[in-house]
Symmetry: C2
DNA sequence: TTCGTCATGTAATGGGTTACATGATTAC
DNA sequence: GTAATCATGTAACCCATTACATGACGAA
């Protein structure tokens, strides 16, 4: 195959790379412990398909071994000595921040696959403007490719297939077409926007700090 | 949880149950060998996410051990003695037909999950009319449930979340709403239709027979 | 004769879910 | 005090993908 090609080391992201990005991205906003991380993760990956602790904790362990994050066991805390059980708070290291910056800057083919695109978009506010556009356009051409396949199949099947299968394919086709239109809107919005540089890291809302008595 | 409840043995289908239904359903139309089965499977499960041989063959083995299908090694065939290599043709047994009939009759909660619904719909022409309606309605209320969750989340996040996440959620919401409307159309079409009994098994198109020099 | 497609498989590997185990904290 | 929720983990299992291995057939 030809195409965009990997200009940067790792381009063929596996599923767990998506998780890595999501975790790093959330910790980039604020330090958190696992339980809360999981809830926020559910919001990022879509409310459905929230991942289990059986996945999260081992992967946190892995990220910690790689040196991207630290497990700071808050035994101190001044006010409450060793209370709240262990409550391991995970925090990005300098290397982890760098790693996140790297991941978020990459616009390889992996970024516009079904699995990763949503997560990429979730951290667009931390992504450079050119990269944003490249990812959106990549996603769009990915979908257009799919569009072609599906409408070919639809044309080929015409009449030969029962009405239910036909309906299914038709609805699928329309969904993809709608997503393309949506992307077009996002892309032109992106072009219109005066491209300010990515602002330095700052937690978007102070309510989600682990120490704060938050509502959830 | 309350709700529809499993009135019939196995209700909590795993992923491989979907595959089982798909394979049984395709073999119900016509005997086939693995390679072709895989191609047709791609059409049924959606062109994307076609499954690999590493999954297909072991599962065919399993179905064979369960007695639902037979592996008839076509060493005979009259015209070509032992040619075309092995070309194992899989065929439904009587028990397999019964099994398929059973699966296709079931309208348990498993049938309207994301994974299974498409495949269920693909075999609607072999499904009893009441079951069809129950599955469609089940799918609809599943989606409405999701609708509620998502729009709640959207309302709760309003303003607190960056425009990209907001766009993502909005687009997701619209997609679900569209699917609900689509289901409404299917359901009312189903109600209008004079409900003829399911016709006896007959392959919908003779072109797909394994012996025929088919176009693909 | 060599390449592409048809055709069938196995082994290694990866990665996710479920179920289980444990215990602290909060609200009633 | 007791139930619900917060919180962290482990082990067993399930199952799919990847890479590999093999080989026949048809066309160039």
């Amino acid at each position: 195959m030809s195409g965009a090609a990997e200009h940067e080391g790792d381009a063929v992201a596996s599923r767990s790379d998506v998780l890595e990005l999501a975790v790093l991205g959330l910790l980039h906003e604020a330090p958190m412990h696992g339980y809360e991380l999981r809830k926020r993760l559910g919001a990022v990956l879509g409310p459905f398909r929230a991942l289990s602790y059986g996945t999260l904790y081992p992967s946190l362990r892995r990220l910690s071994e790689l040196g991207w994050i630290t497990e700071s066991d808050r035994l101190d805390d001044a006010t409450r000595p060793a209370s709240r059980r262990a409550r391991i708070v995970y925090e990005l290291t300098a290397a982890g921040t760098e790693r996140f910056e790297h991941l978020v800057h990459d616009a390889g083919p992996a970024s516009w696959e079904d699995d990763s695109f949503d997560v990429r978009l979730a951290f667009f506010s931390r992504t450079a403007a050119e990269v944003r556009i490249r990812v959106l356009e990549g996603r769009r051409s990915r979908l257009e490719e799919r569009l072609e396949q599906v409408s070919d199949a639809l044309a080929r099947n015409r009449e030969r297939v029962d009405r239910y299968t036909l309906e299914l394919q038709r609805h699928g086709l329309e969904s993809v077409q709608r997503e393309v239109r949506w992307l077009n809107e996002l892309i032109s919005a992106e072009r219109d926007r005066p491209k300010a540089p990515v602002p330095p890291a700052q937690p978007p809302d102070p309510e989600s700090r682990p120490d704060h008595p938050s509502t959830t």
